[in-house]
Symmetry: C2
Subunit: 102 residues, 2 copies
Amino acid sequence: MTNTLAFAALADPTRRAIFERLAVGPRAVGELADGMPVSRPAVSQHLKVLKEAGLVTDRPEGARRVYQIDPAGLGQIRAWLDRFWNTALESFKAEVEREENA
Amino acid sequence: MTNTLAFAALADPTRRAIFERLAVGPRAVGELADGMPVSRPAVSQHLKVLKEAGLVTDRPEGARRVYQIDPAGLGQIRAWLDRFWNTALESFKAEVEREENA
DNA sequence: CTAATGTGTTAGTCATGACTTACTGTAAGT
DNA sequence: ACTTACAGTAAGTCATGACTAACACATTAG
């Protein structure tokens, strides 16, 4: 399941911090690393994970490499969560009603 | 951030399998362990993680212990993802328009 | 062509996590 | 009270992951 990769990617706080920066707009690796508590190679590795999870895309721009959020990947786990949310909530309501008739 | 716990919890395939079973309705530990490829103690440990992440609640029922999905926990990360989805999509559209005028 | 900038990769360390087996604790049945 | 069923805990193993430092590669500037 590709959901495993996406959730695992978002489970790391450093990666979520990078991801949130990318939500503002496309950024190069060096820009992202500046002001972060970890080294630039660490950021590069995190971006690789996010890319393999389908959450970001990258494109070369001169000597730099610009990363950008991929709405498709984000939408996928959002869809999973939504589907899940419905069945879980339905089951939850049914359980509450069952308790009320006890 | 409690989001870290929730995402980390859902990142594990075994835990998602347990979680999906709970989406159908409340279950005891033994019921969940039956038909799963891992041992009962493993399931018990996974449930502990899900509980600490705020994704499930547990209540004693005689000698057994029944676990149930907590809609609040699920709703929290859903809200996070939704907020994120909006800003990311907005930034994405802006970027596309920027490219069209180039 | 050479130097400088920006980035990915490799190797190695340290911590964390998923799992099993064995044990402990608790509630119900006889 | 003793036994049986159900579940959490402890200890130990094995794999994975986050990080840094050092290196290799590509692109632009001079």
